[in-house]
Amino acid sequence: MKRGTRKIETQLAIIGTGIAGFAASIFAGQRGLEVAQFGHSGAMAYTTGYLDLLGVHDQRLQQNPWDALDALRQDEPRHPMSGLSNATIRAAIDGFTDAISDMGIGYTKAGDHNLSGLLPNGLAKPTLSVPDTMRPGITALETGAKTLVVDFEGLQGFSAKAFEVNFRDRWPELSSARLTFPGMENRQVFPEVLARSLETSATQQALAELIRPLLNGVEYVGLPAILGMHMPDEIRARMEEAIGVRLFEVPTIPPAVPGIRLRETFERALPEKGVQLEPQLKVAEVDFRPTGATLHLHGPMEDLEVEASAVLLATGRFLSGGLKSDQDSLSETLLDLPIRQPQDRDAWFRQDYLDPRGHPVNRLGVEVDGRFQPVGADGAPVHERLFAAGAILAHQDWVRQRCGAGLAIATAHAATEAAAAVLG
């Protein structure tokens, strides 16, 4: 028995299956490029489902991300989003939210201001776009509407009581209750398990019947994000009808349903759009040549050889495996791209862990030029056919800046445009 090698050809090979990788796949597909995408389960299951553009700048929460981007360009000209205009960024985000809405997960259209997205611990954070299932909760908070938030015995990752207590000052008409989820008695459960169960109409009806007696005149009911995995908007509509009041979801702590929804939606919909997707395989090696590259992957039974005319690297940071560190230095794991970094590890961190300025190490990453091509110390592209996008890029601190999705989507868009220009 010989270990087989399957060969495929593509114009653009996208390495990475996070928001940046999937956004690049969507944009490249919209441009008519042939796309192949590779990666392994990344950090997407850890998202709240919110798409942040820029929630914090100058150590302050930002209500208007577009104004904040203008300030970012002044203050941090090397930030990966600083080279892109607001119009370009808005077009990218609209393209992304339209695409995922078409695929079956409704998202709100980006507005002129950030929304106050509800968080599981009873706080809110500025974010640009949220799943449609979560939008009514924001209105409920804004209007102080009489609202009941429910959690479940044994559920990990969400406490309705904590949500209520922390919001009490801002939202006095908020109350909480705990139910036993139908069929999940006496056990610990993850939100994913409840979401899978709510895919069936029997569970939807059973849960609605448990909630109805608790209403007591509320206008809204909030649930942890469990309203099904594959058609949450339809399930929310059905449940609203069965309960008789507005219903919304609150994100839970990871591993959470909104991220799993996105990942499974992309895995289902992108191959239908012609993307050659291998969501289970990491690229092991890449050989570059002047007109493209050969990617090598190793599946369980066979190897995969991909001839690509261009490569887009969106492998993320440490958690997703795009970057790694040892005692002395930081490196890029797949291509050993140069990372400009301090000589000494002592310079990676500030003294105080919670220093609001963040730590220098979080801004290290792959340096790119204006066309999102990784560059060497001389400022010249490392390879003519290599592009990069997302959290792997240097000069941003997406966690503190609350700009993860914006960074991923905007730079994926720009990198895809640049790759398309090279591909002609």
Binding site: K2, Y46, F190, T200, E278, P279, M301, L319
Partner: protein, 431 residues
């Protein structure tokens, strides 16, 4: 089955480090729980994949060496599929199984492995080589008599140099021999140059499930020797999951020399349809019955990948009509194990197995499909069982049944896995 200490207590951290796949790191576990969240065995016997890894890191070797959870984990590798760090709990579970004293292992699995060792047939139902040959011959005779249209149909056994050598799950010759005929008819229809082997023909390997590597190796060696002797170019695995994984993985793991390529029957169904050799269509499905399909973990996620899932969908859509196919979610490589794998069906833990299978049941019910197609025997049995247990109104059937139905080749006695609405549809004209 409770905690015991008669087996070996493993040092799981050492085992983990020895088993470490490239690029994976057990101490890289960030404790996120995506593995446990996505595992249908989570919570059974108070265990889940994250807890298993955490306990290994803490050196809780006695507990891990005795938890019966290792028999409820079907080793489906969904945890490894989901883990950003590539941590594969199924391999630790395999090692843990192997460390149990034989007398404490689930008797059903142990008995099936012992049966496989009785004879070169390697049948988990203890069917000897000569019995298999005799049953095939008798069944063929009956087919010739009862369905004259197939009077010339041949079922070669030990035909040296045949292009394909095909294995056979023991369940059919042992329990329902008439179920072999649809496969024979398909092979006859496409004019395949094929043969059974009288040795190593059986499509099951419970020795792998016992965690006994030597026994697993012995089974694969017997089979590989038999196939090599026949000098066939391609070994086709029948509609079964783990028997495929056990061969190719066994050959790789134990460094065996195989002079054949391992392929799945589903791949060939798809190829024969594409080539026009198997001109199936959905004209028979006048009532627009809805169908969904189970992706066997052993065939898709653990072996061929989404290419097998694509072939499966291509075949099913041709058979039932594109508009009558509804995918369960999640699907393809991300699909859930049904709970029939890993020997769970034979482990004597019906309550836990059905609790595990509730996830699959809900997936099927959410599709509102009338039929579930399962190109794997264990999936077939489990999905049928949880359907009966939880009150689902679906029917579980094999691909070969529908292929023959579509081609008008399916005899009246070959319809036990069809519902009453298809009992008389497309019966062969001359019978």
């Amino acid at each position: 089955m409770g905690a015991h200490s008669r087996g070996n207590t493993l040092d799981f951290l050492k085992v983990a480090n020895d088993l470490l796949p490239d690029g994976a790191s057990y101490d890289a576990c960030v404790g996120c729980g995506i593995c446990a969240s996505g595992c249908p065995a989570s919570g059974l016997f108070g265990m889940d994949p994250r807890r298993f890894i955490n306990m290994a890191m803490l050196g809780m070797n006695e507990e891990l060496s005795t938890t019966p959870w290792v028999w409820a984990c079907t080793q489906c590798k969904r945890c490894a599929y989901l883990c950003p760090m590539g941590i594969d709990v199924s391999q630790l579970v395999g090692a843990a199984r192997g460390a149990w004293a034989t007398e404490d292992k689930p008797k059903g699995i142990v008995r099936s492995c012992a049966a496989q060792k009785l004879d070169e047939s390697t049948s988990a139902m203890g069917l000897m080589s000569e019995d298999f040959v005799e049953i095939v011959e008798e069944t063929l005779e009956e087919l010739h008599e009862n369905q004259p249209r197939f009077a010339d149909l041949k079922v070669p056994i030990d035909k040296k140099g045949a292009k394909f050598v095909i294995n056979q799950n023991s369940r059919e010759p042992a329990v329902e021999p008439e179920e072999m005929a649809p496969l024979w008819k398909i092979l006859d229809y496409v004019g395949a140059d094929w043969t059974y082997s009288s040795k190593g023909w059986a499509a099951e390997n419970f020795c792998m499930f016992t965690g006994d590597l030597d026994a697993w190796k012995e089974m694969v060696e017997t089979r590989v020797d038999a196939m090599n002797a026949l000098e066939s170019e391609i070994w086709i695995n029948t509609e079964c999951g783990h028997s495929f994984f056990t061969i190719w993985q066994g050959i790789e793991k134990f460094g065996l020399k195989a002079n054949f390529e391992a392929e799945s029957l589903v791949t060939y169904y798809a190829q024969w349809i594409r080539e026009g050799k198997l001109p199936v269509n959905s004209d028979w499905n006048k009532d627009n019955l809805k169908f969904t399909v189970q992706d066997p973990c052993q065939l898709v996620r653990k072996s061929i990948g989404d290419r097998a899932a694509d072939d499966l969908r291509f075949v099913v859509k041709k058979l039932v009509g594109e508009e009558n196919f509804i995918d369960m979610q999640p699907c393809r490589s991300a699909n859930y194990c049904c709970g029939g794998g890993g020997g769970f069906l034979q482990a004597g833990m019906a309550n836990e197995r059905r609790a595990y299978g509730k996830r699959k049941f809900d997936q099927v019910i959410a599709t509102e499909a009338d039929y579930v197609l399962t190109p794997c025997h264990n999936c077939h049995s489990q999905i049928e069982d949880v359907g009966e247990h939880y009150g689902g109104a679906y029917t579980v059937t094999h691909l070969w049944t529908l292929i023959c139905l579509s081609l008008g080749l399916l005899g009246p006695d070959e319809r036990k896995y069809l519902g009453p609405e298809l009992a008389d549809v497309n019966l062969p004209e001359e019978d």
